[in-house]
Amino acid sequence: MMRKILVLLAVIGFGVAMLPLVLEAGVAEAPGELATAYLEQSPRDFAAANVVTAIVVSYRGFDTLGEVAVLFAATAGVGALLTKKRTETAGAEPERKPGTEILGTATGLLTGLLVMFGVYIFMHGHLTPGGGFQGGVVIATAVLLNLLASPRSRVAHGVMTAVESLSGAAYVALGLLGVVLAAGFLDPRALPLGTLGALASAGAIPLIYSAIGLKVGAELSGILEALKGDRE
């Protein structure tokens, strides 16, 4: 009884604390001061048609580097925790049901398209909605489909490790290039900006987002394979 009253009080407390958020929610009529500055300056500063990408990769580039580092730490943790046990019982191969024929056929048709779509999303991050993280997840979805359709298949571990570390190094190297050739770390103006709206525009942003996309795709594929269980 006491516990129920406490829970009820906690719920009511949360409700009261969140009430201002609910009352003020809605679509703003006009963008605020900071948003206006971003909207006006980002096409001029970076020639990026997608303002969100300009903010994520350049104005807030250091945050994005931190996010990538967090994701890397999470992947390393999952890999370390879930790989160890399997090496002890490597002798006993668990029975696994193969995927159905529908899943297998659909996987064969969709894998190429999904990878292509993921690459499209992160290469066009500076032009259309989306970017490195979204494209990387789409690529990981293709890997997931293959793992589901044929449970015995394995992710090529060496290739994934190479892609992951090389793209991470490329991201930091592009950031350092900004120190040498432009205003500071992660400044995409290190490379020529080009014209607004072209694929090869916005300086280093497409390259940085491609590196992030490959890195995220490789990391999430690694997490999925570690969770699947029979990694050695």
């Binding site: 679509v27 969100v52 668990p94 999303i121 909605p129 989306g130 970017g131 993280f133 979204q134 997840v137 789409v138 990981a140 979805t141 997931l144 999430l220 997490i223 999925l224 969770l227 699947k228 269980g229």
Partner: protein, 94 residues
């Protein structure tokens, strides 16, 4: 106006699916319902004009998270099974 109505309806669906996920007896149903919450949330983000966020929510929230939860559930069941077998070999002590 139509967009506002759609957002409201999506909100009601999200709350219903969330309560269903908490109350469901089966873990599998809970996982699928919480994935459904994310799917409707991505629709709301799209209606509010944030396609970037909608894409992330659909791919990570409703796709990858659901799969990770399903794998985790399968693995914990497998671990339970192995523990039970080890106990049986050790002399039937629970």
């Amino acid at each position: 106006m139509v967009v506002d109505m759609a957002i409201l309806v999506s909100g009601v669906v999200m709350i219903a699916a969330g309560i269903g996920a908490v109350l469901a007896k089966s873990l599998l149903v809970s996982i699928i319902l919480s994935g459904g919450v994310s799917l409707v949330a991505s629709l709301v983000f799209l209606l509010m004009g944030a396609p970037d966020v909608a894409m992330t929510e659909a791919a990570i929230g409703s796709g990858l998270t659901t799969v990770v939860f399903l794998y985790a559930m399968a693995r914990s069941k497998q671990a339970d099974h192995e523990d039970a077998e080890a106990n049986a070999e050790a002399g039937g002590q629970p």
